[in-house]
């Protein structure tokens, strides 16, 4: 094979990495370089750019190599694909990371890799990049390492000492689908590895409570990704799987990635534009579970044949099917009920609660607390507003359904 120059390798290995949705650089320990080294982290991540796909570019997201000995059908880098292959040396990745970082293009590095030779060998290479960055270059920016579940626990241990975040992708919501589409992967060992990481992170925090000198282990926690639309799993199953992952392994995030057609896609997989609206609804449902105190059963109850309504966001869907709970008096209702009001976010709810201790809320106040008064109107009572029978009106769904809703994504072509 002809030698590729660094620009060509960058093109191939960025192409190979783009199907991983995660680009988060938030939630890690605070660091700065006033006493040496290069880089800093704040609590909040920074998105340095946005691509025309609307996704943030925060990290240099690369595969160390897209050579792979596995044959996961949904993956562009599977062994049976004849995509162009490339491989960076760890030093090349380090130089590129430092060069980009100094120009303020990125927050750090998100490094993953195809499996080459063995899981251990591959993991060693990833760890080596992180070690070079941290130890030889005093790099204090963000590092996210993809973790290979079958690798030696000692390598995972080392990875966690250098990286801010570790992640293992569960890939598909159904175990059977993984067996079918990714025959070399094993969902049991993925869950076991996640469980092991949670235990190790808790141990790390315990050690740091005893001594602030104890090393941090993956301070930004772990995350995972599920591909949506590559198998037949309905939303209800995906939501249940996510809840299991959040509660069992304390994941910071579950990313949903609408299955994108990949070059030379195998015929076993759907050949269609990615179901972006479905992906969006899943994220909204995910938020309801994590921040709005909805139980999985409540979210699933408002699905039809297991699928979330594409025309209505899941919080609104819950509200229209529970009209008896509305309207809600924003001057009296407890926090958990305020969180159920469509169009009202967590921050606005907390501002409302602080404010109503001092003055009764009027409709004009609510208008300033939220950007979506029109959506909320049929669901709330204020000092000077009552929706009357509007909450019960048969036309409610029509009146709260956004009119600009495009017929899914089909209009793209």
């Amino acid at each position: 094979m002809a030698q590729l120059d660094s620009m060509a390798k960058l093109a191939v290995l960025a192409d190979a990495a783009k199907y991983d949705a995660s680009c988060a650089s938030s939630g890690t320990s605070k660091r700065h370089s006033r006493d040496g080294g290069l880089g800093s982290t704040e609590g909040m991540g920074i998105c340095h750019s946005y691509a025309p796909d609307g996704r943030c570019i925060s990290l240099l997201k690369l595969l160390l190599t897209n050579h792979c000995i596995y044959d996961c059908l949904y993956c562009v880098n599977r062994v049976s694909s004849n995509v162009q292959r490339a491989r960076f040396t760890p030093e090349e990745v380090v130089d590129l990371t430092i060069g980009f970082y100094k120009r303020n293009y990125i927050e750090g590095l998100f490094l993953s890799s195809g499996i080459i030779r063995t899981p251990d060998y591959t993991m060693e290479q990833l760890v080596r990049v992180a070690r070079l960055l941290r130890e030889d270059h005093g790099f204090k920016g963000y590092i996210h390492l993809k973790t290979i579940p079958d690798a030696d626990p000692r390598l995972l241990e080392e990875a966690g000492l250098y990286a801010d975040r570790l992640s293992i992708n569960v890939e598909l919501p159904r175990e059977e689908s993984l067996t079918e589409l990714a025959p070399q992967k094993d969902s049991r060992s993925i869950r076991k590895a996640m469980g092991g990481l949670r235990l190790r992170m808790e141990e790390g925090r315990e050690e740091r409570r005893k001594s602030t000198r104890a090393p941090r282990f993956a301070p930004a926690g772990q995350s995972t990704q599920m591909i949506v639309g590559a198998d037949a799993a309905p939303d209800s199953e995906i939501i249940r799987t996510s809840a299991t992952l959040y509660s069992g392994y304390h994941l910071k995030r579950v990313y949903y990635s609408a299955f994108s057609p990949i070059p030379g896609s195998p015929t076993a997989l759907p050949s269609q534009t990615p179901p972006l609206m479905r992906e969006h609804r899943l994220y909204q449902a995910d938020w309801l579970y994590r921040f709005y105190e909805f139980s999985v059963d409540e979210i699933v109850a408002s699905t039809t044949d297991g699928m979330l309504d594409l025309a209505l966001d899941p919080k609104m869907a819950w509200a229209v099917s529970h009209r008896d709970r509305f309207p809600i008096d924003v001057n009296r209702a407890p926090r958990e009920m305020l969180l159920r009001i469509p169009g009202l976010g967590v921050k606005s709810v907390d501002k409302m609660i602080r404010m109503r201790r001092l003055a009764a809320l009027r409709l004009a106040d609510v208008a300033r607390l939220t950007r979506s008064l029109k959506t909320m109107r049929p669901f709330i009572v204020t000092l000077d507003w009552h929706p009357g029978a509007a909450t019960d009106a048969a036309g409610l769904v029509a009146c709260v359904t956004p009119k600009i809703e495009k017929p899914l994504q089909l209009s793209l072509f």
């Binding site: 660094s6 620009m7 960058l10 093109a11 960025a14 990495a17 783009k18 199907y19 700065h32 370089s33 006033r34 006493d35 040496g36 290069l38 800093s40 909040m44 340095h48 750019s49 946005y50 691509a51 796909d53 609307g54 996704r55 570019i57 000995i69 599977r78 062994v79 049976s80 004849n82 060069g99 980009f100 100094k102 303020n104 293009y105 049991r188 869950r191 076991k192 092991g196 235990l199 299991t244 509660s247 069992g248 304390h250 609408a258 994108s260 057609p261 070059p263 030379g264 896609s265 195998p266 050949s271 269609q272 534009t273 990615p274 579970y289 999985v296 501002k351 404010m355 300033r368 072509f413």
Partner: protein, 479 residues
Amino acid sequence: MIAVDLEHAADFDGWRSAARRLAMAGVAPSDVQWRTPGGLRDLFAAEAVMPDVSENGGELRVSRRFVDLAERVVCHRDEERFALLYRMLLRLQEQPKLLELVTDDDVFRAENMAKAVRRERHKMTAFVRFREVATEDGPAFVAWFEPEHHVVRLTAPFFVDRFAAMRWSILTPELCVHWDRQALSFTPGATRDLAPDDDRLEEHWRTYYAHIFNPARLKIAAMKREMPMRYWKNLPESSAIPGLIQSASRASEGMIAAPALVAAKRSAKILKQVEAARPSAPHVGGLEGLRQEAAGCKRCPLWSNATQTVFGEGEANAELLFVGEQPGDKEDLAGRPFVGPAGQLFDRALADAGIDRTAAYVTNSVKHFKNEPRGKRRIHKSPNVSEINACRWWIEQEAALLKPKLTIAMGATAIRSLTGESHSVLKTRGQVLASPFLGDVFVTVHPSFLLRLQDEADKRREYEAFVADLSEVRRLVYG
């Protein structure tokens, strides 16, 4: 009319010291004109004459929160920012909780201004692009940026934290900031032609930008919302955007239409090697073989919500078989029984009863953790009869291999599993029941029962009772 001349556009300290004196002198907001260099000026305004206020002229109180807010608001480009803050300062003296009234005209406006400033600071940390230049003292990094608000001073410490070892300058039309690896300095505004116009890595960066983009998911509005077009002219990657959008639908249509490209011959060979290298499960008998078999158990649906099968643990020649209910959160993650808090208590009680830990084999009636996800936690749920029955198969196998001298049922689930009948733990505690598939079953409580007790005296009493049960076990087996 009193005019106050501030030193620069975001001069918080100057505003604060003047505002303090004016407020203590009781000067009304409408009688003050706040002036900044380069700001709008009222030709007929009075000269700056500050009222003479002695330092003990009273007290002015504001919360830390107002100071935080004001530090942001002074950076806004709104000409009325200082007047607004002064008015709020006076109102706060009468209404200390004013800031909670987020829909009040002044508070709402100030919060919105602070929000705009925070956003612009954030965008500056994101969109400044340095270009490397060679200087006599080595490399330096220079950027050209055009902020919408007066955020240069506010944002400078961010760049110091991040690039303390680099020499850098950020040039803007209003104010330039420089870091020489020791200290920050500020100089008047500059023009774009003073900044370098290229960098050796920009082509790499554009290449990365173009290839990390997924043409199958075009969302131009989302991009523009987060990266408004007014920033584009100073972003080296933006020149790639029109071309990427134009070729996007063609590229993704191409992927959908393209036939599966398969490197069949090469991949078959590699996959064969991978398969050959996979450690095949050795056919071992005994407890180890049983454990391996149980790892894939799907006799009931509980596996789907759990991490792994938690099999029994202990020596093959153990004389005592202890059976609990099911693994908990910690056991599920670690893959070992009785390693959580209940397990630690069990170990201590065993030692206090004089039973050698190696003489005990511990296992659970149900080998997967039954739980219900609630937020970030898993709530323990008791297994039902069909799950207990499905899992009994494994206990039967374990018991058949171990041939224990005595089996100890800890708690109601274990009683159900081992005897096939429901008995109250409290009524049968300390008794020996019969099992249809193994010999005698001695009944005691589950150690987690002790953990749930709140009262210290109850805890002590129940712990002693538990140790007494275990001592009875020792007496029954060893005399």
